[in-house]
């Protein structure tokens, strides 16, 4: 977008990711101070840098503020149901292995209602990049606690404070064998972009947790404050440690002295998920130009 107004000079006619946004869907629905826009930007910059042809990239989301990302990016994009982005994306990734698939969705979507799919997609090492926007709450529904909300936090459903221990997502996803596991905050825009890019280039399951301010649902009710104040907290408390012991990287945004460990924690090369193939097919699947019947007939000839 260009800046307009009487005093604003035009710095650039075109932003590098302009072509990857559905300009006709803007303005977006996100609140001021929300970190989702920055995350989306980092994702699109990584996509540009990856060199993947935009026609061969697919974005899948679940439901939530974070899940709305699929509606703003100008690639084939699917806004599925709450929690089901990963199996939806698996269907695409397995059927059309030549496509690169990114899932971008919320902490609640991916780790609560979709938590079972998360551990299984990571275990299988499905070839996809998952950007999990952790804003420590269910933003879309107005700020309720979920499995990432810190203990004692106040929310719409926890007026007396959260009583259960939140997930340590990198530890969880690593434990089941994902090939790439990272955590950054939206303050680390460059590292985040680089991390997503590494995830995209990595065969198998790449999981990037992004700590992201939600002033509306989490910041204000918990004295974390506005978006900028949450960013300042990341600035003060984040420690970059790629070699951190993942069982120790729990986050507690409500304890002022507790560090927030970020980094590219895991980079391994387990084989990516590839369902069994029997006899070599007479024609490759996925050639969508070919009619199914032609495929059937060709296969029959062998």
């Amino acid at each position: 977008m260009t800046t307009t107004g009487p005093t604003a000079a035009i710095v650039a006619k075109k932003h590098p990711v302009d072509d990857l946004l559905r300009a006709d869907r803007l303005p977006h629905i996100l609140c001021p101070g929300c970190g989702i826009g920055t995350t989306m930007h980092c994702y699109l910059e990584a996509l540009v840098e990856s060199g993947v042809h935009v026609d061969k990239h697919v974005c899948v989301s679940g439901i939530g503020c974070s899940g709305r990302t699929a509606g703003y990016v100008k690639v084939d994009s699917y806004h599925s149901t709450h929690g089901r982005a990963l199996p939806f994306a698996l269907g695409i990734a397995v059927y059309r292995p030549e496509l690169t698939v990114t899932v971008i969705s919320g902490d609640g979507d991916l780790s609560s209602i979709g938590g079972n799919h998360l551990i299984h997609a990571a275990r299988r090492n499905v070839n996809m990049t998952v950007i999990c926007i952790n804003n420590f709450n269910y933003g879309m529904t107005g700020g309720q606690a979920g499995p990432t909300t810190p203990m004692t936090a106040k929310s719409g459903t926890t007026p007396y404070g959260v009583a259960d221990k939140p997930f340590n997502l990198p530890h969880l996803v690593n434990a089941v064998g994902a090939n790439f596991v990272a955590r950054w905050s939206v303050l680390h825009a460059r590292q985040l972009k680089d991390s997503i890019l590494r995830g995209m280039r990595k065969p198998g399951f790449a999981f990037i947790e992004v700590l992201s301010p939600c002033p509306t649902g989490f910041g204000r009710p918990n004295d974390v404050g506005e978006g900028i104040e949450e960013m300042l907290k990341y600035h003060r408390r984040c420690k970059w440690d790629d070699k951190a012991r993942l069982e120790d990287v729990d986050i507690d945004m409500l304890r002022p002295d507790s560090p927030v460990i970020v980094g590219n924690f895991v980079d391994r090369d387990r084989p990516a998920f590839c369902p069994a193939t029997g006899a070599p097919p007479a024609s490759p699947t996925g050639a969508t130009e070919e009619s199914t019947k032609e495929r059937a007939a060709m296969k029959d000839a062998h």
């Binding site: 699917y78 698996l90 269907g91 079972n116 969508t288």
Partner: protein, 391 residues
């Protein structure tokens, strides 16, 4: 005459033309293969497991992808995703898994992503009778997901029909861009009978409607329907940069969260099946010409009903059978026509549930509708149906 035993992988063709002695679940899987299924995602559950296991073996042999998912929520999501990328995709389940799939069946209806769901009905509700027959998911097939939408559901009554109707299901799904159900019951799924598989060239094939405009053409609107109310479908990876959402959307596929686009979209989703009902509906008429008692029965119960009609005829009672092959759309027009002809004096509706199809018939007539129901676990015998006919 060949048997069910698998031949050597490399030699197994997609369409196993020939005369077979084959179980209903296997015939369903073979029908899917003949229809060109590319992608199966499922989770084992009695009495549908054979569909899943048979495709686990057969699908990779013909270049398709088989994935056993972590649950049915994942299975249905995966087949919608694969279909959005161009696959003919399938899942198979039974009541408990069918229940878990409901939300995303609504997504498939809303996104208009074709897919086929096989539900082999067992005794229900809940875990019910895992190995016992049931026919009580008929309403769930039609109304199971929240909101108004339309689907197509076939009810095979023999292994041959499991084969034929699974092909039909894929064709209808692609033609109308809807989720289509194949509603077998446990008896039909597990029954072994003669199944004739025609050569590949004789397998009916209806292609999915595809855009005529090239990618990048500003005129192309992913959800602009043709005159038949069905929009042509672009797939992931083709350059159309389409957006699909379960939110109410406009012709661009973009969220449009207000009453007017919602009204338009939901009505079209229902109307695209309603206006084509005459083309979609299938039923079998048996001795209806002079029938005064019409038995309406589907699936395995239709087999008992046919025997009951024959027994009644032997006693000089003018009975006939109307067998809905599509449960949805229901053969309403045919029943109305039979009522209008003035000959019929009563209906008898036997079914292995407490009155789902019976309610559909009652809605259409003032004539007596005799109920022959059982909750599940065993078939209804011809004698029981005969009693109701001659009562």
């Amino acid at each position: 005459m060949s048997t069910q035993s698998p031949s050597k992988p490399a030699a197994t063709p997609r369409v196993r033309a020939g005369v077979h002695f084959m179980g209903g679940d296997f015939a369903c899987a073979e029908g899917a293969l003949a229809a060109g299924v590319d992608f199966f995602a499922g989770y084992p559950i009695t009495p549908s497991t054979e569909v899943c296991e048979h495709l686990a073996q057969r699908l990779p042999q013909v270049g398709g992808k088989f994935v056993q998912m972590e649950d049915e929520l994942a299975s249905i999501a995966a087949i919608i995703g694969a279909s959005a990328a161009g696959a003919r995709s399938l899942t198979a389940t039974s009541g408990p898994g069918f229940s878990l799939m409901m939300e995303n069946i609504g997504l498939a209806a809303m996104m208009e992503v074709p897919c086929v769901i096989v539900d082999v009905m067992r005794g229900s509700p809940s875990t019910g009778l895992p190995t016992g027959v049931g026919q009580a998911d008929i309403y769930q097939a039609r109304w199971g997901s929240h909101g108004d939408y339309a689907v197509i559901a076939y009810c095979p009554s023999s292994p041959q029909e499991c084969f034929d109707l699974t092909i039909q299901a894929f064709n209808a799904a692609d033609k109308y861009r809807v989720p289509v159900m194949v509603m077998m019951d446990e008896v039909i799924g597990h029954m072994t009978e003669k199944v004739v598989i025609p050569p590949a060239s004789e397998i009916p094939f209806t292609p999915r409607k595809r855009p005529s405009l090239p990618p990048g053409d500003s005129e192309y609107l992913p959800y602009m329907p043709d005159d038949d109310l069905v929009p042509p479908m672009a797939h992931a990876g083709e350059g159309y940069k389409i957006h699909m959402t379960g939110l109410t959307h406009d012709e661009r596929g973009y969220p449009a969260l207000s009453a007017e686009p919602h009204e338009k979209l939901v009505n079209r989703l229902v109307d695209k099946i309603r206006v084509h009902a005459a083309d979609i509906v299938m039923h079998e008429d048996f001795l209806l010409d002079d029938a005064e008692t019409i038995v309406v029965a589907f699936g395995c119960t239709a087999r008992s009903a046919r025997a009951a009609v024959n027994l009644a005829r032997r006693q000089g009672v003018r009975a006939g059978l109307l067998r809905p092959i599509t449960a949805w759309p229901f053969p309403t027009a045919r029943i109305k026509e039979l009522i209008a002809a003035g000959q019929v004096k009563q209906f008898v509706v036997p079914e292995i549930n407490l009155g789902q199809v019976r309610r559909e018939v009652e809605r259409l007539t003032q004539l007596p509708v005799r109920r022959v129901h059982r909750a599940g676990g065993a078939m209804i015998t011809p004698e029981t149906i005969l009693e109701a006919i001659v009562q």
